[in-house]
């Protein structure tokens, strides 16, 4: 009895040519994905292109080199950097403690790490602003040491650090979990001190993930808006971030200027995104042995 007869009266599915897929649903799933990505992600990008191409090159440069805007680049960049570096240290500490030690309340701390991810940025913004204001719990303590946080760039750093702490922790945690005890034991048995073992054995495996986490934190902080505007004070030339600049121009109905600045920001974000993906592709995969 031939196979096709055995298959019964139901129509036999034939392959179209030689390159067919074993699993079903390729057309449908790819179709939905491409449609969605084009409509939601790619199409809106064209709007920006159209708007900025409507400007002359001079107009474009004039807008993005406005002194107030340039000041906002500087503020945004250094605060994001400071926040990311702080998160690098804090995140590493947290990841280390969560992976390698047991203590009461560990589960709780692990859950709390994701809080900035789940909490709306505006809510983060008002609570940080309240805490660090002159009469807030933290603001009072810091004022005694002469440190002002609210309405200064330092407030921006705090807000950025708060919202992007999960990026570092969640990137470093899996790598720490994968470290084999055997490597450390071998080093210790050869007489190395803890500090040396950390430097020579542990850290080399960690640093790609740490850099990735810091880069993700940096990228996120560059674009942060809601958490910052309440605590920053938004003083022009002092504590204005670039995302706020875009917003300000929009409120002035200066769509062209807003688009120009936004295209700069977008370009930097996309470049960072692709760079991080390439980096992850090279370094993290090498570590995982794939």
């Amino acid at each position: 009895m031939s196979v096709s007869a055995q298959a019964g009266a139901a129509p036999v599915r034939r392959f179209a040519g030689r390159s067919k897929r074993v699993l079903p649903g390729f057309g449908l799933s790819l179709g939905i994905s491409l449609f969605f990505v084009s409509l939601v992600l790619l199409l809106p990008l064209t709007g920006l292109v159209v708007e900025t191409s409507g400007m002359t090159w001079d107009q474009f440069v004039f807008t993005i080199t406005d002194p107030r805007v340039i000041e906002s680049y500087k503020v945004t960049l250094w605060t994001a950097l400071a926040a990311s570096l702080f998160n690098g240290l804090f995140g590493l500490l947290l990841a280390w403690v969560l992976v390698r030690y047991e203590f009461p309340g560990k589960r709780l701390i692990d859950a709390v790490v994701d809080l900035p991810f789940a909490l709306p940025t505006a809510v983060a913004g008002i609570t940080l602003a309240t805490l660090f204001a002159q009469n807030g719990w933290y603001g009072q303590v810091l004022a005694k040491a002469g440190i002002e946080v609210a309405f200064t760039p330092l407030g921006i750093v705090v807000a950025m650090a708060f919202t992007s702490i999960p990026f570092v922790v969640r990137t470093v945690q899996p790598v720490l979990e994968e470290l084999s005890p055997a490597d450390e034991e071998a080093a210790v048995s050869l007489g190395a001190s803890d500090a040396r073992v950390f430097r020579k054995v542990i850290f080399p495996s960690l640093w790609p993930a740490l850099v990735t986490g810091i880069a993700l934190s940096f990228t996120r902080s560059l674009g942060e808006f809601g958490a910052i505007i309440f605590i920053a004070g938004n003083t022009p030339y002092v504590s204005e971030v670039t995302s706020l600049m875009i917003f300000v121009r929009l409120q002035e109905y200066d769509y062209a200027a807003a688009s120009a600045i936004a295209s700069m920001v977008l370009l930097v974000s996309l470049v960072l995104l692709f760079a991080i993906n390439l980096w992850q592709g090279r370094y993290l995969r090498r570590l995982e042995g794939r």
Binding site: S2, V3, S4, Q6, A7, G8, A9, A10, V12, R13, R14, F15, R18, S19, K20, V22
Partner: protein, 373 residues
């Protein structure tokens, strides 16, 4: 249902997995695809199943070309190396899956399905596990369930991808015996892939040895073991002792080793392949062979004593291995460091570049020498 494989080619990017493979798989027999990793055996199995497509060539089931038929419609049973049991279905639901996936017209009733599942559970001797989940089973149990699941829809062809590879040695042996018994009772056409030559030789009716995308040899297990037809198959089927040298006069010579080869062309490079059981040890050389070797290690475990020796005054790439019965061992008491001589009874000569061996038989002379020991 016999299977014919007709000039199948398959490459993955630059890697040529299968290079013009043609095979006949007889109906109702258990065939092993044997080879090291990278030989293409799993790729071939998956192409037969329809889980991969070939670049060119055809696959025929009982004379019908199924090359363009989707795997779903080929009515085969496939057992995966890591079982691929559905984690969220019970054992009974796993086994029933194929039957429940049939189109309404051909689907049996619920009672019939349950009855068939119960029978299959009996057959794999696990009726008490019907409501367990795969995570609660041992490796051997999982594999039996995978087999029952594959057989539920009564396929005419059963394909198994390294079915026992992930199991412990003892479990493997038990399951091997059990699979063979099952096959003898039901006579499906089965093909299984393995890299374990012991498994292939023990289980199958026909062995297909593959290497680097090509078929090296097809034979029954005894035929394969008795008459390997290439260097690769020799090497693959267990240890082989090699004398590499040049033919001078009527002998193969290297260093101070010499073996007589009646009727061979002069001045060629040649290799003589000798299996451990084709060689005996003696305290002195004989007329047709002078192969001095020094004993390096003696292994007493097993049904035979295994003696490892290193060439003395000549060279070989690998150590030589010769077997000796426990009785002989007790009589002659060879010890480490002693010099002995190997006496070949049967050998396989690869002359020059030829890929086919010539069998050389010194039996008459060997018997005479043995009388000297």
């Amino acid at each position: 249902m016999s299977i014919t494989i007709d000039r199948i080619k398959k490459s993955f990017g630059k890697f040529q997995a299968l290079n013009d493979v043609s095979l006949d798989i007889p109906e109702g027999k258990l065939t092993a695809l044997l080879g090291p990793s990278g030989s293409g055996k799993t790729t071939l199995l998956r192409i037969i199943a329809g889980l991969e497509s070939s670049d060119s060539g055809r696959v025929l089931f009982g004379g019908d070309d199924v090359s363009n038929l989707h795997v779903r419609d080929r009515n085969i049973g496939f057992v995966f190396q890591h079982y691929a049991l559905f984690k969220h279905l019970t054992v009974a639901q796993n086994i029933a899956f194929g039957l429940e996936s049939l189109p309404r017209r051909s689907r049996p009733s619920k009672q019939e399905i349950n009855a068939r599942v119960a029978k299959l559970l009996e057959m794999i001797q696990l009726p008490q596990l019907a409501d367990r989940y795969p995570a609660q089973l041992s490796g051997g149990q999982k594999q039996r369930v995978a087999l029952a699941r594959a057989l539920a829809t009564k396929p005419r062809i059963l394909l198994l991808d390294e079915p026992f590879g992930a199991l412990d040695a003892k479990v493997r042996k038990d399951l091997r015996r059990w699979l063979r018994a099952l096959h003898d009772e039901f006579h499906f056409t089965s093909i299984f892939v393995t890299h374990d030559q012991e498994e292939a030789l023990e289980l199958s009716d026909q062995v297909v040895v593959m290497s680097q995308g090509k078929v090296e040899q097809v034979n029954s297990p005894t035929g394969l073991y008795a008459r390997p037809e290439s260097r690769f198959v020799f090497d693959f089927l267990g240890h082989v002792n090699v004398l590499s040298g040049v033919v001078k006069g009527q002998s193969l010579v290297q260093g101070n080793a010499r073996v007589a080869l009646p009727g061979v062309v002069n001045n060629q490079e040649a290799q003589l392949y000798l299996r451990p059981h084709e060689v005996q040890l003696a305290k002195a050389p004989v007329a047709h062979a002078r192969l001095p070797l020094r004993i390096e290690a003696i292994s007493l475990i097993g049904s035979e004593v295994r003696i490892e020796l290193a060439p003395e005054g000549w060279e070989s790439n690998e150590i030589w291995e010769v077997g000796m019965s426990h009785g002989e061992f007790a009589r002659h008491n060879p010890t480490r460091g002693e010099l002995w001589y190997a006496i070949p009874a049967v050998g396989h000569l690869f002359a020059g570049d030829s890929a086919q061996p010539e069998t050389v038989d010194w039996h008459s002379t060997a018997h005479a020498s043995a009388a000297n020991m």
